[in-house]
């Protein structure tokens, strides 16, 4: 059945595709001629009257005017084709697990190009400026915005070594050896001079970020290798730009002097650092702008995109490295922008970036295929094969040699398995192709040969290396990416470790990596955050931000599950807060005794209340969904918290015994409540305290405190909060803003105590039913108040 369905889908899909291509090809051939009949002109206009005097044509009801929409139509058609292709691949799961998507797309491009050629048209070629100005930036921005900064900076030295030294080595090795081959070969190739070869070498030696991303995304290797190869592909752009311009400039002259080399080095520094500076400036501007967008949330993503694109374009104006500018812009602005913008904007940015980069990616590979069919080729066996071999050899030698040097300085050494993957992952891609395409045929008579060679190398790396890297990764048992969720313990300890290592470095007097990172953080906290982040968030420590994020995620999970009895939890456990609260020494206060019948009555009352409450709970879940706490409500939340704190202080003399009978073990609502408490962090933990039943509409006995459980607290809309209002004896605190709920009054017949007591077991009266006093170490115990779980 399933097979039939997918086959049917496939057939329909191919039909649609065929239609599209069919409409596409004659359109592309259509040429000039303003089909002005398309403009529906009534007989009112003068021109028309003059035209139609001699031959009165019937009024055109339906006319055909293609030129008007030609350009956007074609672009949309291509993008649609690309997206449908992507869709198609995932209908064939078996295929997409063997062959990486990039290969499939190139094949499709080849097919489409072939089709177009068959029809007799000239297939469109991937124009370099379209590539560099429109197709490349989204991919790079996507990569830069989501760059894992921590791993990147930790491995920055290694990445730079590979990017700069490695690329230089590759360029000169390949270029030099190719020149030797050309000279040796004799008749056809001897015209290729050294500079051309070096230029060719420099173009082809750069690892391509698009190809690397496309392949590495699917194999999920560990983060270290991913960031090494990917970082290298990003940072070698500066080297490529400099070498390209250098050799291109001087190819017309013919010679290079020492001064030129020195200038080249200076140029490299200018290009890379300049690019980074430009990017950083735009990044800061973007961060600063985002500080004021609290009233116009809708256009927040637009700022992010525009500033980044401007950074790229500005860098390109001065021939600086646009890629590095883009990366710097994204990386610099991200922490501040994320602190300022709303959650929805964040999602929008994420999805738009992914969407654009995905479309770009697909288009690039398809066009690569089409251009292969289209482009003028000159096939020379020796040159092409030599290029291929030299590229591979250069890469391997470069990686091995550099790793040998780098390992002396690294704490975590790179093993030979790592080296293999790094060498194998050096894929070439469309950037190289576009750069060759830009070459001027006058200066480079052998440009077509270069083009052919480049395409061969690209095909080889993408197809052969791309396809085989996945089984190789499995074969070599390279460590894969950990998919674990970040837990709060890990976060605490990561921060702890940072400070610890900084401290030890200070004691040793050694200004290492941690020392400078700490200094930067402190500078950031003191000055930069104040400028760039709006409002209270600027002072929020990272741990707290992480904690809030985690809470919100859990709350969203809870709500998305519809408040059902099953919660999506990875850790089903029945541990709840009360298990953790410290045992207080058994008090010598006499607990009120309840007769069995009494207890039964109480329990029944409580259960019904819980039922009723649960109804409210559910509706709260569905309709009053999460208002983003990080949106405008943030300040209100803080104000409310302050108010609550004041209230707590008033209630400081409380004895808040909740004598609660043990829960009937089979009640689903209670099990759910327990589970809920286990899942939610922080403020939601309070749920567990009240699950059974501390509700008496009127105090059943004098000594049973009644708890006000507020479920619709607007104060913490992001979580289902149970609010505990512990009223003074007899007095009802002013909580009208909290809405309904169950009220707990603590009548404390005994003297008010400062201490909270948690009587999990009562040693002294084992016969008594377990009176579980839920401890609220909040208001009366210590000076510091805990506002979240209990008193909202």
């Amino acid at each position: 059945m399933k097979l039939n369905e997918s086959v049917m889908e496939l057939k329909m899909f191919l039909l649609v595709l065929g239609l599209l291509v069919g409409t596409g090809s004659p359109d592309m051939g259509s040429s000039q001629g303003k089909c002005s009949e398309s403009l529906v002109q009534g007989p009112q206009t003068q021109e028309n009257r003059t035209h139609t005097t001699h031959s009165k044509k019937p009024f055109p009801v339906l006319s055909f005017g293609y030129d008007y929409v030609r350009l956007p139509f074609e672009i949309s058609l291509w993008v649609l084709l690309a997206s449908l292709m992507k869709l198609g691949f995932h209908l064939m799961p078996r295929l997409s697990s063997i062959v990486p998507e990039s290969c499939l797309l190139i094949v499709v491009g080849l097919l489409v190009g072939g089709l177009i050629k068959l029809v007799g048209e000239a297939p469109p070629v991937l124009e370099s400026n379209i590539f560099f100005l429109y197709l490349l930036p989204p991919i790079i921005l996507d990569a830069g915005y989501f760059l894992p900064i921590r791993q990147f900076t930790e491995n920055l030295g290694t990445i730079l070594m590979f990017a700069v030294v490695g690329t230089l080595w590759n360029a000169f090795f390949v270029g030099g050896l190719l020149y030797g081959v050309c000279q040796l070969e004799g008749h056809r190739l001897v015209t290729v001079d050294l500079l051309s070869c070096l230029l060719f070498g420099s173009i082809i030696s750069a690892v391509d970020p698009v190809a690397v991303l496309a392949v590495f995304e699917e194999i999920h290797i560990n983060e270290l290798l991913h960031i090494l190869v990917f970082g290298e592909s990003l940072l070698n752009d500066a080297v490529t730009v400099v070498l390209y311009h250098l050799f291109e400039e001087f190819s017309s002259v013919g010679t290079i002097t020492v001064t030129d080399v020195l200038l080249g080095i200076v140029c490299f520094l200018v290009v890379s650092l300049g690019g980074i500076v430009v990017g950083a400036i735009y990044g800061i501007l973007a961060a600063f702008t985002s500080r004021f967008t609290s009233h116009t949330r809708v256009i927040e993503p637009l700022f992010v995109f525009l500033y980044s694109y401007m950074a790229y374009l500005s860098a390109e104006v001065f021939h600086l490295s646009g890629i590095m500018a883009l990366i710097a812009c994204g990386a610099v602005m991200r922490p501040y922008v994320e602190a300022n913008i709303s959650h929805k904007s964040h999602t929008t940015i994420k999805y738009f970036l992914k969407m654009w980069s995905s479309v770009s990616d697909t288009l690039i590979f398809i066009f690569l295929g089409v251009s292969t069919v289209a482009g003028p080729h000159e096939w020379n066996w020796i040159f092409v094969v030599a290029t291929l071999i030299f590229c591979l050899v250069a890469r391997v030698l470069g990686v091995v040699g550099l790793t040998f040097v780098i390992n002396k300085f690294r704490i975590v050494k790179l093993t030979s398995k790592d080296q293999f993957i790094i060498a194998y992952g050096g894929l070439r891609g469309a950037i190289a192709f576009s750069l060759v395409y830009l070459l001027n045929t006058d200066h480079f008579p052998k440009r077509n040969m270069f083009l052919t060679a480049i395409i061969t190398v690209i095909f080889f790396t993408v197809f052969v290396q791309g396809m085989t890297i996945r089984p190789l990764v499995d074969l070599l048992a390279v460590k894969k990416k950990q998919e674990t969720k970040r837990s709060i313990n890990e976060e605490i300890h990561t921060q702890f470790l940072d400070h610890l290592l900084t401290g030890i470095e200070d004691i040793c007097g050694h200004y290492g990596h941690h020392h400078w990172k700490d200094k930067l953080n402190r500078f950031n906290k003191k000055y930069v955050k104040k400028c760039l982040i709006a409002g209270e968030r600027s002072k929020e420590p990272q741990l707290i931000a992480f904690y809030h994020k985690m809470e919100m995620k859990q709350a969203i999970e809870l709500v998305e599950s519809g408040g059902g009895s099953k919660l999506p939890s990875a850790m089903p456990s029945t541990v709840s807060m009360q298990n953790i609260q410290p045992k207080k020494p058994p008090q010598d206060r006499a607990l009120p005794q309840l007769s069995k019948a009494r207890e039964e009555e109480i329990r029944k009352i409580l259960r019904t209340n819980l039922q009723r409450t649960r109804q409210r709970l559910r509706s709260y879940n569905r309709h009053t969904l999460i208002a983003d706490p990080y949106e405008d409500g943030w300040n209100e939340i803080l104000i409310k918290r302050k108010k609550m704190k004041e209230l707590e202080k008033k209630i400081s003399q409380m004895n808040n015994y909740l004598t609660v009978p043990a829960p009937p073990p089979d009640s689903p609502t209670i099990a759910r409540a327990r589970l809920a408490s286990g899942e939610m962090a922080g403020k939601n933990i309070s749920f567990s305290y009240f699950y059974p039943q501390a509700w008496g509409l009127k105090s059943a006995t004098e000594s049973i405190p009644s708890i006000k459980v507020d479920l619709a607290s607007p104060q913490s809309p992001e979580s289902v909060n149970i609010v505990d209002e512990i009223g003074m004896k007899g007095s009802q605190p002013k909580v009208s803003e909290e809405g309904g709920g169950l009220t707990m009054k603590v009548p404390s017949p005994t003297k008010p105590r400062k201490d909270q007591t948690t009587d999990e077991d009562n040693d002294k009266e084992p016969q008594q039913r377990l009176m579980r006093c839920l401890s609220d170490p909040g208001p009366a115990a210590e000076e510091e108040d805990e506002d979240e779980p209990f008193l909202h």
Partner: protein, 217 residues
Amino acid sequence: MGASQSGPVHMFQDLAYKTGFSIEQIKNLHNRFIYLTQAEDTLRREHLENVSDLALNPIRRQIIEAFFDKRNMGEKEKGCLQEIGFEEFVTVLSFFRPPKPHTVDEEMKNIKKEKLRFLFNMHDTDNDGIITLDEYRRVVEELLSSYEIMGAETAKAITDAAMLEVASVTVGQMGPDEFYEGITFEQFMQILKDVEIETKMNIHFWNLDTRTVQCGK
């Protein structure tokens, strides 16, 4: 002359063998030790507190305490020392030595365990073998102490959440009456097993002479 020269060298070799540092590194550390103690024989807490960069560190107290903690000296004793010699100084620092290349997995596990033990001892201030809620809360408070805003309630909430997580992950099912004492060492190892302590908790001990001769503070 000869005797006094061979004396420290001999001691350095012993230390190098015991802690795994190289002789060069030990010599550098010795120079640093002399600088810190201002040429006295033993290191006391005040000496460490004089390190200016340390003043801005939120957990400096615990770091300093770790140097005087007997549990880190390789003996089975508990308690604190008042002053330590060079040997203890190097012993404590050896916890931060990166593992040598080509270390077998078995030994890596031991190294990881030792480093985690060091961290555990830093948290478990009362030496009872478990990290209680209060001790953990103090850790979180110290981490947040460098920020001006609040501290207390959120620290409490974060600590509660963290303990809850530890309990959920390690113990799993607990009845409502049971009480979770605190984090034992095995549980500590379990929750931090993904953090890759053996590669992260290292600093670089240069073989070259570093800034020990730096007089300026």
